[in-house]
């Protein structure tokens, strides 16, 4: 078990190192220099250009720049934004809070909504199934920025129940501000999780052990709880895990639509401004989150399925 955990940890570290190199290399190859945006297109004196280049190591060879960045990273130094000249850590910490809460609220909606709808459709069949299937298919088909536009127009502008933009301040206010964004973020993915759940439940409903349980005279409710849902959980957890991990990367669209100061929207802005240190840091954070969520899913497997715990890996 310990060896397995260590191996997994090592694999994670290698993944991070490789992705950090890829991120750095990709940005190195991006056309355009951060200097351009920095000066809004005004020309600078050669001395000033030289000092900026020295400050951001723009004049050093590629591998040396990567090495400087990597060693800084190990000291918790993500560099300075070329646009605002502030440390990247200072810039990111308030934004990470917004994105995390948004993702958490979205994940809660996706997992609870998706599983409830999916189980309902899988177990009830017929009419419920038809309704859930139709609604979720529509949900899947609507992109999140469209949902955002519709929600803002009706719930925020017409009815005035929710704010039009921004993230608010203080916890309650923030949750209120993030409700519509979380719904926009979740809608399509609720549908996705619901469809997978429905399929998994369907398979388990007709499985041998469920049939056996029924033939032994167990009540349907008990069969569903003990035999159907429990066994169906494995694919559901996998899909929920991947979905939540992809939320973090996909959050940019919703953050942009609601003008939220989160890391997704910041990534988009920083990419268009060639603010390399910020882009590198956010990409790295996204990779870390993805890897961590996957690790959590792996561990959940072990807890859910005793067969995976003993011997087999």
């Amino acid at each position: 078990m310990l060896a397995g955990v260590l191996r997994r940890l090592l694999r994670t570290l290698v993944t991070l190192l490789v992705s950090s190199f890829l991120i750095f290399a990709a940005l190195y190859l991006t056309p355009g220099s951060p200097l351009a945006f920095l000066t809004h297109g005004h020309s600078l004196s050669p001395e000033a250009i030289h000092s900026i280049e020295a400050q951001y190591h723009l004049n050093k060879p590629f591998l040396e720049r990567y090495w400087l960045w990597l060693t800084g990273l190990l000291h918790g130094d993500l560099g300075r934004s070329t646009i605002t000249r502030e440390p990247v850590t200072t810039l990111l910490s308030p934004r990470i809070g917004v994105t995390l809460l948004l993702v958490a609220m979205g994940a809660l909606l996706i997992v609870s909504g998706g599983i409830v709808l999916g189980v309902l459709a899988g177990v009830r069949g017929r009419r419920t199934d038809g309704v859930v299937l139709t609604v979720t298919t529509i949900g899947l088909a609507i992109p999140s920025f469209v949902t955002a536009t519709i929600l803002i127009n009706y719930l925020a502008l017409k009815l005035g129940w929710f704010p039009v933009y921004g993230a608010g301040s203080g916890f309650a206010d923030r949750v209120w501000h993030l409700t519509l964004p979380a719904i926009s973020l979740a809608l399509g993915l609720v549908a996705y999780v619901a469809l997978i759940t429905r399929a998994a439940v369907r398979v388990e409903m007709g499985s041998d052990h469920s049939e056996t349980a029924r033939s032994r005279g167990l009540r349907e409710g008990l069969v569903i709880r003990r035999h159907v849902v429990r066994n169906a959980l494995l694919p559901i957890v996998t899909v929920s895990g991947i979905t939540v991990a992809s939320l973090v990367a996909g959050v940019a669209v919703v953050e942009k639509a609601y003008e939220l100061p989160g890391i997704g929207a910041y990534l988009v802005d920083s990419v268009s401004n060639n603010d390399f240190p910020v882009v590198q840091a956010i990409c790295l954070i996204l990779v870390v989150v993805y890897v961590v969520v996957n690790a959590v899913v792996d561990v959940t497997y072990l807890l859910l399925d005793p067969r995976l715990r003993t011997g087999r890996r």
Binding site: P31, G32, S33, P34, A36, F37, L38, T39, H40, G41, H42, S43, L44, S45, P46, E47, A48, I49, S51, I52, I83, T84, R85, E86, T90, L91, P94, R95, T149, I152, A156, L157, G160, P163, V164, Y165, G166, A167, K256, A257, Y258, E259, P261, Y266, D269, V271, S272, N273, N274
Partner: protein
């Protein structure tokens, strides 16, 4: 000295009225207007759109307000250091926090600022009398040494000012008396005074700036100035908060807003929603598509603007340098159509690449020239085809570079593309990422494969047509990208910038401008008045373009 401006302004008014009369006689002035104001007109005119009243000021506010939330539609400032503020987001904030020696008033003429007056004793010297009794927010007195320090920072090449083009001609800035600063230029230049209303003439506290070093003007380093609004906090990505300076030196501009919050919403839809729901109280540069939705939430105001839309050639070689091709293209672009559809009637065709709201002196002279350049407002395909034929029916493709996400310029570029097609020219449109688009101006490599560019950053800072020559026609200007070089234009320009007499200066400027527009350089496209929105709660902000950059406009803001 300020009397001179006043007189100049009166002259402008008289000139404008006579121009209006002349137009009415010529039959293109629409209904006869007996308005005595030079800048207010709802009739169709070649300078402002029909149905739009251009008023440099808005109804005066009478009450105080605890908070006003304002938007920056071009995004968050990168810095509040005057050295690095030479763009709309930065100057919109800086104009309220940090005083400059002079101000650009609502009608685009210069006003005294930290300098109570100035003289121009010799062709190359400017003497500014510095106001006494001004204090920074921390209570320290503003001294001549702060002024000399602030202005000289621009001359230090290591600090990297964005005003490089302007400081190139400044020789020295030094104290010359107890309350007096003398600026010496290398060549005679009347534009220097106007630049003292910009970041170039902005004064910061020396002790504070030296203590902060590199961090001065950043979100964490903050700033220390004497303006009507104090810097309170700046959460990057979220908002920038200013509070009222209770002891502002200018009694006429006592701020009525307790807290002024800047937001950085750039998305048209979100901004429109925020304005119509009242989440944001007001903004300059209101996105045109959103105006119909703002309806009952508040009021739109239209001000003077030295902004313009041009099609700028940016290559020294290739088809875009062919004079006949340029002329044909300029002839066939549907300027009226662009103004009507892309700008929904809130723009008018530009007839020469010099924004006419910049004609702040010798107005009649300039206007007469402008109207006589002869740029057509609707396509003249036959004549243009003939020119293309004379050019040998070239088949090479040309490319217009626009900024990604700038849907307005995308529409304009598409209109130009179809105009080019109608005379057999192959024009491509390429959307460039922001960073690369900005880089077009000073990096020749970034310009590779792009022949033309159009966008919304071709404004001139002040109401001085000479600035057009300064930026685009001078053979050694960093903004002159197509290599236009005409020694006669250069010499006329040098004479004009040395000329203190407005009418004589205009005569020289017009000669130079005529030589510059004749072979068609920057192709004029459209001009539009500044668009300002304030919701029902607030009023007072001046509505002109340079004014919100170089005048403490928020000090006029208050309750309705």
């Amino acid at each position: 000295m300020f009397d001179q401006w006043k007189k100049r302004w009166e002259m402008r008014s008289i000139a404008a009225i006579s121009a209006l009369l002349a137009l009415a006689i010529a039959g293109c002035g629409g209904s006869s207007s007996n308005s005595t104001s030079s800048t207010s007109s709802t009739a169709a005119s070649p300078f402002h759109p029909a149905g739009v009243t251009v008023t440099p000021t808005t109804p005066t506010s009478s009450s105080t307000v605890s908070q006003v939330t304002w938007d920056e539609p071009y995004g968050e400032p990168a810095s509040l250091d005057p050295l690095k503020s030479y763009a709309l987001p930065e100057n919109t904030v800086l104009s309220n926090t940090c005083d400059a020696l002079l101000r650009t008033g609502p009608e685009l003429h210069l006003q005294p600022g930290l300098a109570s007056s100035y003289t121009h004793p010799t062709a190359t010297t400017w003497v500014f009398k510095i106001r006494q009794g001004v204090h920074f927010w921390d209570g320290q007195p503003l001294t001549v040494s702060d002024v000399v320090y602030s202005l000289n920072r621009h001359l230090n090449p290591k600090l990297g000012t964005f005003y490089t083009a302007w400081v190139a001609d400044i020789k020295s800035i030094a104290q010359s008396g107890p309350q007096e600063v003398t600026l010496t230029t290398k060549v005679p230049d009347v534009m220097v005074a106007q630049m003292m209303a910009s970041g170039l003439g902005t004064v910061i506290e020396k002790a504070y700036a030296e203590a902060k070093g590199e961090a001065y003007g950043t979100a964490s380093g903050g700033i220390m100035c004497s303006g009507p609004f104090e810097f309170k906090s700046w959460q990057t990505g979220q908002q920038l908060t200013l509070t009222r300076n209770p002891s502002y030196w200018d009694a006429a501009l006592e701020p009525k807003v307790q807290t002024l919050v800047f937001k950085f919403i750039t998305d048209t839809t979100t901004l429109t929603n925020a304005l119509s729901s009242g989440a944001i109280d007001g903004t300059y540069e209101v996105p045109i598509q959103g105006i119909p939705q703002l309806g009952s939430a508040g009021k739109m105001y239209y001000g003077l603007s030295t902004n313009q839309g041009i099609l700028q050639p940016i290559q020294k070689t290739g088809l875009s340098t062919n004079v006949k091709v340029r002329e044909a293209l300029s002839m066939v672009i549907d300027r009226s159509g662009i103004a009507k559809t892309v700008f929904q009637g809130l723009a008018v065709p530009e007839l020469a690449a010099v924004p006419p709201d910049s004609f702040s002196y010798a107005t009649q002279q300039y206007q007469q020239w402008y109207l006589g350049v002869g740029t057509p407002t609707t396509p003249n395909v036959t004549a243009a085809r003939k020119l293309v034929e004379e050019a040998g029916n070239p088949k090479t493709a040309m490319t217009i570079g626009i900024q990604q996400g700038d849907s307005q310029s995308a529409q304009v570029a598409t209109a130009i593309q179809s105009a080019a097609k109608s005379i057999g020219l192959d024009m491509q449109v390429k959307a460039l990422p922001t960073a690369q688009y900005v880089e077009l101006i000073f990096n020749e490599k970034a310009r590779a494969g792009i022949d033309w560019t159009t966008g919304n950053n071709n404004y001139i800072d002040q109401a001085e047509p000479l600035q057009v020559l300064y930026y685009w026609s001078r053979s050694n200007s960093p903004y002159n990208l197509d290599g236009f070089a005409n020694s006669e234009v250069d010499s006329l320009f040098a004479q004009a910038r040395a000329q203190n007499n407005p009418s004589q200066r205009a005569t020289l400027a017009i000669k130079a401008l005529q030589l510059w527009v004749k072979p068609v350089n920057n192709i004029p496209l459209y001009i539009y008045p500044e668009r300002l929105f304030m919701n029902k709660r607030i009023t007072g902000a001046p509505s002109s373009f340079s004014t919100f950059l170089y005048y403490p406009w928020a000090a006029e803001l208050g309750g309705t």
